[in-house]
């Protein structure tokens, strides 16, 4: 605990990052209840008005929808999906990566071959094609598909960290007192590899935001009327010269969240992996 505070003092950027994350979480929870406009309401008198005009704090888009409301409501879905995705993909990664590295030999070979094949399609292309073909994304399908697309990355981290621990003699010591594989993997090894895995999971959170936003931008993310930050950018791109706020504020929202999480992830790695 003392060490965390010491590191916090040394990393003012981490404090900023954490503050931004807290801001967005609060926005997602209580934001919608304090808004003047709803996210679907079309204020036909105030189309493409600049920030501040008649209570539209961040202006409106071409249909007269309030940008602020759409951003605030949009934070809910992106946070939910990204959080779920980073957890699901990390857990799947632990299970697959641990089993492969622990049992080694043929199992590991098969695992690596499978990962090779999965990695042959870039994760964004994979998610985009699958979601596009299935049509009509929901939080469930989005989470599931992005998680699967991330498995090669998360499983590799788990596999690697187990491999470095596997050769420690406490694993042999556990074997020669007849412990089960599950016990060895999760009681003996996991506590010693959890650091890098948590770091990877927080970084994965940032990548999930990136991925979900990009999918929304490509139009295969959550479908209207749910406001989606990525989709707001592409919808309003045509009016970037006339109403730049309609594009730039959602983009800034994404950037702030992604950068904040990256800063947080860097801080976590400094605390957990006593780097240099």
């Amino acid at each position: 605990m003392k060490y965390i505070l010491y590191q916090l003092k040394k990393n003012p950027l981490a404090i900023i990052g954490i503050a931004i994350i807290v801001f967005w979480v609060l926005a997602a929870f209580i934001g919608p209840s304090v808004l003047t406009y709803t996210h679907t309401e079309m204020d036909s008198l105030n189309q493409m008005v600049s920030p501040g005009v008649s209570g539209h704090v961040l202006g409106t888009d071409a249909l007269g929808r309030d940008i602020l409301s759409r951003i605030i409501v949009g934070s809910r879905s992106i946070l939910t999906v990204a959080l779920l995705t980073s957890m699901v993909s990390t857990l799947l990664g632990i299970v697959l990566g641990f089993s492969a590295a622990y049992f080694g030999g043929k199992i590991d070979q098969t695992f690596l071959r499978m990962m090779d094949i999965m990695m042959a399609i870039p994760p964004l292309v994979l998610s985009m094609v699958v979601l596009g073909i299935l049509g009509g994304s929901s939080i469930m399908s989005l989470t599931l598909i992005v998680s699967i697309a991330f498995i090669p990355a998360t499983a590799r981290v788990s596999r690697g960290s187990l491999l470095t621990c596997k050769n420690n003699e406490y694993v042999d010591a556990a074997r020669i007192r007849g412990e089960s594989h599950i016990y060895i993997m999760f009681v003996e090894i996991l506590p010693n590899t959890i650091g890098p895995i948590i770091v990877e999971a927080t970084a994965r959170f940032a990548y999930s935001i990136m991925m979900v936003a990009s999918l929304g931008f490509l139009g295969v993310g959550l479908q209207p009327p749910t406001p989606d930050w990525g989709m707001m950018v592409i919808e309003n791109k045509q009016i970037i010269t006339d109403a730049p706020w309609a594009v730039l504020y959602p983009a800034a929202a994404i950037a702030s969240l992604v950068i904040a999480i990256s800063l947080f992830s860097d801080f976590v790695s400094k605390v957990l992996i006593h780097e240099q």
Partner: protein, 321 residues
């Protein structure tokens, strides 16, 4: 000898990967809701004409037969016909687009590879100093920044405010991309951001690791100047892991291509794939995804070979006295 063997082995696994991928892609599209014949003829088609078309195109054949037909066509260089564009051969559509995408990827590559390696090395050498703090923060900030986000910021600065570059990157009809090279800059820069974040961070940590190694200490204590030690002793070792990292991140780069091509309306393969998905153009989706897989696989293979070639421990593997 061993090294050649390794390359052959990698080529073999590449072929296996491609075969498996082609099956997966084929099956994936197979489960797509909707009927191809209906898509071609439209809602108003009679059941008889639908059936006739199915028969004519062999759509009633078992999945396996259809896969073999498709794969056989691929091997002969026949990618099939686009449905949405009424039977235009995909070959005539695709390759121009692929060329455009490659050109864009290459432009991005030329910008981000030297930039991120150079700054990563600077950060690693000056670890914990001001230069490092700035570079590290930039890397961290751009590490997971979606390409379209950096893209719209670039647009609003360079295209809307300063008017140096165009807002969209379309090629006027009848002109070649080479006479419009300025349209490449903003899309390439958008890709550069995220790649820079990842690669420069990796380069920095590998540089720090190398600089703390015993052999760098030994070289310094032989009385070599620091600059020389960094250039001759550290660089080669520190860049080896980066090569692999770049290879693995080519996937992100291709994903990024789709995003920026959509943002800038650039006529590349990514935007073509987007259109294909939107219009549910089955053969076109299959062709695009397969092509991306091939290009991605080949680029990882190239980085692997480069890695092996630059690393004597792999090049002379098993050649121990």
């Amino acid at each position: 000898m061993n090294f050649t063997f390794m390359i052959i082995k990698r080529l073999g696994s590449l072929v296996v990967t491609l075969v498996v991928m082609s099956v997966v892609i084929f099956l994936l599209v197979e489960i797509m809701p909707g009927d191809v014949a209906e898509m071609i003829l439209g809602q108003s088609a009679t059941p008889e004409s639908l059936e006739a078309l199915r028969e004519e195109r062999g759509l009633n054949d078992p999945v396996f037969t259809r896969y073999l037909r498709w794969a056989g066509g691929l091997l002969q260089g026949d990618l099939g016909e686009s449905i949405y564009m009424r039977g235009v051969p995909i070959n005539t559509l695709l390759w121009r687009r692929v060329g455009h995408s490659m050109l864009l990827a290459l432009t991005a590559f030329i910008i981000f590879v030297p930039l991120s390696i150079f700054l990563g090395i600077v950060a690693g050498v000056k670890a914990k100093k001001t230069a490092d703090s700035i570079i590290s923060f930039l890397g961290l900030a751009t590490m997971a920044l979606p390409e379209f986000v950096s893209g719209v910021f670039l647009i609003s600065i360079f295209a809307v405010q300063l008017r140096i570059f165009p807002i969209i990157s379309v090629i006027p009809i009848g002109e070649s991309v080479f006479s419009n090279l300025d349209i490449l800059i903003l899309p390439a820069l958008s890709i550069t951001f995220v790649m820079f974040g990842y690669v420069s961070r990796m380069q920095r940590s590998s540089m720090i690791q190398v600089m703390n190694s015993d052999y760098i200490r030994a070289a310094m204590l032989k009385g070599m100047p620091r600059r020389y030690v960094i250039l001759r002793h550290a660089l080669k070792n520190a860049m080896l892991p980066t090569i692999t990292i770049i290879g693995m991140n080519m996937g992100w780069l291709f994903g990024g291509l789709i995003v920026v091509e959509t943002l800038f309306a650039y006529p590349g393969m990514g935007s073509l794939l987007m259109t294909a998905i939107r219009t549910r153009d089955v053969p076109l989706i299959e062709a695009c995804v397969l092509l991306i897989t091939v290009v991605f696989a080949v680029s990882t293979l190239i980085t692997d070979v480069m890695y092996g070639f630059l690393n004597p421990r792999i090049r002379f593997q098993g050649d121990v006295q």
